[in-house]
Symmetry: C2
Subunit: 189 residues, 2 copies
Amino acid sequence: MPIDTKADLLDSAERAVRARGFDGFSYADLANDVGIRKASIHYHFPTKAALSVALMQRYATAIQEACTEIEDGTPTGSGRLAALIALYRGALNDGKSLCLCVSFSASRESLSPEVITHIGQFRAMIVRWLTGVFELGRQDGSISDVTAPAAEATATLSLLEGAQLGARAEEDIAMFDDALELLNTRLAK
Amino acid sequence: MPIDTKADLLDSAERAVRARGFDGFSYADLANDVGIRKASIHYHFPTKAALSVALMQRYATAIQEACTEIEDGTPTGSGRLAALIALYRGALNDGKSLCLCVSFSASRESLSPEVITHIGQFRAMIVRWLTGVFELGRQDGSISDVTAPAAEATATLSLLEGAQLGARAEEDIAMFDDALELLNTRLAK
DNA sequence: GTCTATAATTGGATAGAC
DNA sequence: GTCTATCCAATTATAGAC
């Protein structure tokens, strides 16, 4: 059972970014959490910028795979949208965390250009995926009142991210559920 | 013409928080911006926590007054909602800033309990105000398809804040407009 | 009210031993 | 791969002169 320090560091860093922001944690925090000295972290990630790039890449891949899994396991538009909502809801950790993309977006000024590019690509990927979901929901009739799938997709991503922020602000997941209530009423059960 | 250093510091700090987050600026930055030495700032705001409380109080008052002005100058529900959307849009500064509440919400872990309380009160105030706007919009028929004003209000605040975050992430105000497009189609011109 | 000077701590990062 | 030791810059904050 080989110990994967690099993965441990990424796990610890992701938790830290999502709970405290990119400027809110240090190599000392990671060292404490993972159980090595902070100088040793530089062996795996020479700079904090390099660490952030690795974080964002791993995250984009994971969410992309999650979306594919949703498509494989859920045939209806409403079911797929509900699954994505659940994904964003789960990232909240009872209002103590944000998803990585939201946290990074708020820390924009401290990030390297490479990460900023990745954020843009990630957001575009989610909007594309959501557009497909709304198109399907219109076809199969499982999402009501869909007239403009692309506009629905952009609005839905903003709603999800804003609802996360609100729940984080008040450290109360009920805020997220309240914000999603209206969209939920449009989904076939 | 008396120089109000305290107000200058608050202005500079608000710009800094909104552009770079609460952890993203220092007293050195403010000193540079305002033109005094950083030690002098402690005369006006003993700690960064005290500064953040003053910022949040001033902001809440200003937005509350802006909402009252909207009510005074705009009779319809749709007009009032459009005016609030314009307020949030204006805070973006072409995608280079967030509003103070969104920026503070993302920096939650670095804030004093007092500021966190203020954020909760501020968000509740906005939701109350928006609920009234949607009730009016239902009565005067200027906002279409309003069935649950309170749910609309929570969803709208999340949409506004999420759209700000998206526009900031991509430093493109078009992202904000895209996210608000669907809500806009429900408003009477 | 603002200054200089400085304390005390922490930040990311490097060198070189093991 | 991980360690100790260290560097240098930046951070919030204080003391005391003007």
